[in-house]
Amino acid sequence: MSGTDYSYDEQGQFFPVFIATVVGLVTIPLTYSVLKPSSDPGATAPRIKTDYRPEHADLIDIQRKAQKKKERKLKRIITVIAGWATMAFMAYLIYVTARTVPKLWNPYDILGISDSATEKEIKSHYKRMSLKFHPDKVRPDASKNQTIESLNDYFVELTKAYKALTDEEIRNNYIQFGHPDGKQSFSIGIALPKFIVTDGNGKYVILVYAALLGVLLPYLVGSWWYGTQRMSKEKVLIESANNLFREYEEGIQEGGIVSALSTGLEFQKALKGDKAESGLGKLESRILAEGVSSPLAGGLSVKDRTVLEDLDGGAQRKALGLLWAYFGRVELDDPALNQAKFEVAPIAHALNTSFTAIALAFGTTAPILSSYLTCQNLLQALPPGASPLLQLPSITPAIAKAIEGDSRTHLSLQYYMGLPEAYRKKLSVGKGLLTEVEYQTAMSVAKQLPRLQVEKAFFKVTGEKFIIPSSLVSLVVKGRFIPPGSQNVPEVNELDLEDVDPDEDDLDAILGRKKKAVKGEKAPEEDKIVQPPLAFAPYFARDYSPRWHVFLTDSKQGKIAVPPFTFTTFDKPIYDESGKPTFNMQTLKAQFQAPPQAGHYTFVMHLICDSYVGFDTKMEVTLIVDEPSKAEEIEAEDDISEPDEDRRAPPAKKKKKQAEESSDEESNTEEEADDTSDTNTDTDEE
């Protein structure tokens, strides 16, 4: 056995295969990531149709385009193209290089007979062949490039083939080693071209190796590690998140949050060098000028003003000034400043997401609500406490004030749109108010806004009549999208308000794999996911898909009881083809664990849309948790026919029974503690 017989890939027949494989390992997944349908909501979601263009729409468009470009992953695309080019080249090389495939020694082929030939046929065939090809019989034909030797060899091959089929020993050799002469020497090929190991090239190869392992690998690992360390989970710089945490206060309000957001390091990046100071004086004089509906044009309160003025100059102060200018929609008369004004809002929005996460960790209701309101304000470019009417196109603070009259509270959009048409028009159209065309535009936008009106909210445990301690409760919110000012809204269909449990054998639905509300009559619902239209936020320089957050709070303690569930898509169409609202009943479900004690729990349910001001719902819901014994009585009366019922029942039901009876008043926070008692109680019940 000649083990040291390495052969390098001199003809270059394996090397391209090797390279193509390695490149393919990288390129193919990358190609997938480039080609996969974008998760960006802007690509697929419908839009609210309007031809309204706000002031400086060009500036906003420029920023939207820049953002799209950034998201296009240019580097990745180039890598993919290069990868495919390399692979194509390698494929070409493979195709071109002559393959020297060692042929398998096959006696039938040599003799030229079929594999199924019998021994008799083989013998007769061999006899004929040996007569014909015996070296003594044939003359070498120069024109066919034959010599005595080649003829000789051919005859020897024929004989070998014949023997392999007839002679016992040689046949054994053939079966074992694939060759009648016994074991053949074999060689190990290395799929590297020879020039890599030839003298003189070795040091370069080592150099490349060292560069790969000693420089590139640590660099890649390091950049990945520090990259993950640099950004928080909410995709803001970790230092910004730290600052936001420090800025958090129990009693923080929207204005305070805006001030807190300005501590983000992202602003320092966006307002580098010269930009950090330029135009600061002008900016501040504009936002601190007297406003129409608020004391200051930027919409900031006196307290926010002192915060702004106490800041040292620099990026933070400018960022805060720009934010207030954005909120107040203040004209800054300077292209660079106006550009920066629209630039800060998306940054602040990202930071606000981080702030929301922090507020949720603290769990106090007021700051959480404030941070959601700030999100709405950022999208709609409204200062805290401004009139929701300003969300409509062409309505300025002055017009909003004129419409609202001398009121202390603001008109909500839905109230304004609910006013009789003639009266509303009288309020809004006129000298110094909207023109007829502007009014029509505003109305058309208002009638497209997705306002989710809650029709019913209740608690239930899937498949059970009662809610017992520690069971997995679903909060079911039934609501319809009723845009403000909708006419002829149909009555609520009582059937729609019920939440029918999925069939017993419908495992998908039970496990909640698909959010599918099965209706009494029309069970086969199309489970297409419906995206709401992109937020109508003409001043916000990003495409944004609205989100709805549902959460429960405890009003007595001012703490959050069930953290938010976020909904971005719905199960039924919101608008039909012509853009008219369908008023379909939408179902939102949020699951959480019931309290470990029986009793009546009153929560405040908040349903917040993070894109529109004034569309929030706040209502009281009562969760009635019954003693587990009550549920069991019912079950006994029902005479249990399906054994599955027990298995699907809330997990803690059975095991709780004993614990409850023995120690009712005890506050046992660990519901899972007595898992072991599950099995034995299960049996002695029936």
Partner: protein, 229 residues
């Protein structure tokens, strides 16, 4: 015997040596940098002014030209210490409420490790501070250390309450002004109506003070609306 190829043998050893050496240097630099960074972390709380006041009262330097340090009345020192304790209470409340949030956020990766380091240091500092205040209090009056934080807590809570009340009171003038204006406008409206009783006003808004308004088209938009003209 075999001839040992020393040169050939040295290569793998050199390789291992270089490898381990570079790893050690890297880890050294990395640790030093981290230590320097954590030493430079900004403190959690701003300078403790009340403590500084107390300490400077305790260690007053003699004024120029005089040999004796000015005598500080005992009551002033005690008041300063109490103030210091009040400030400590504020800080403790902050730390207590932030601790859980900070650790969950750190686990989730929403805030950085730096913040947690700073937080832990602040916590440790506060412990020291509390102990210091107790010993100081005991030195001033025997057994005062056991009660000083109770009184400080009361003071802190009282201040907080008073501040909230003041905030609410501060809104009174503007509210009053608005209601005066509103009353005037309602009065003038009434006068107008009395003057022209024949023409029925089409204003729908004046009568809906604190009334649940069901919007005309039955969308069920319910809103408590006050004072709409």
């Amino acid at each position: 015997m075999f001839g040992v190829d020393w040169w050939g043998l040295s290569v793998p050893f050199a390789y291992i040596g270089v490898l381990i050496g570079s790893l050690i240097t890297f880890s050294n630099f990395y640790r030093k940098r981290r230590a320097a960074k954590s030493a430079n972390l900004a403190p959690w709380f701003p300078p403790h002014m009340q403590r500084n006041i107390y300490l400077s009262l305790l260690h007053l330097d003699p004024e120029e030209g005089q040999e004796k340090t000015p005598a500080v009345p005992e009551s002033v020192i005690r008041a300063a210490l109490l103030r210091r304790a009040v400030e400590d209470i504020h800080r403790i409340i902050q730390i207590r409420s932030a601790k859980q949030a900070c650790s969950t956020l750190l686990q989730r990766g929403s805030v950085g490790d730096d913040l947690w380091q700073r937080f832990l240091r602040a916590e440790k500092e506060m412990e020291e501070e509390l102990r210091d205040v107790v010993t100081e209090a005991n030195a001033l009056t025997p057994n005062w250390g056991q009660t000083i934080f109770q009184s400080a807590n009361e003071i802190a809570a009282g201040t907080l309450l008073r501040k909230k009340l003041e905030d609410i009171q501060a809104q009174a003038p503007t509210e009053k002004e608005w209601w005066e204006k509103r009353r005037a406008s309602i009065q003038s409206d009434f006068m107008k109506e009395l003057d022209a009783p024949a023409t029925a006003t089409g204003k729908s808004g004046t009568d809906d003070d604190a009334v649940l308004v069901e919007s005309a088209n039955g969308t069920g938009s319910i809103r408590k609306k006050k004072g709409k003209n």
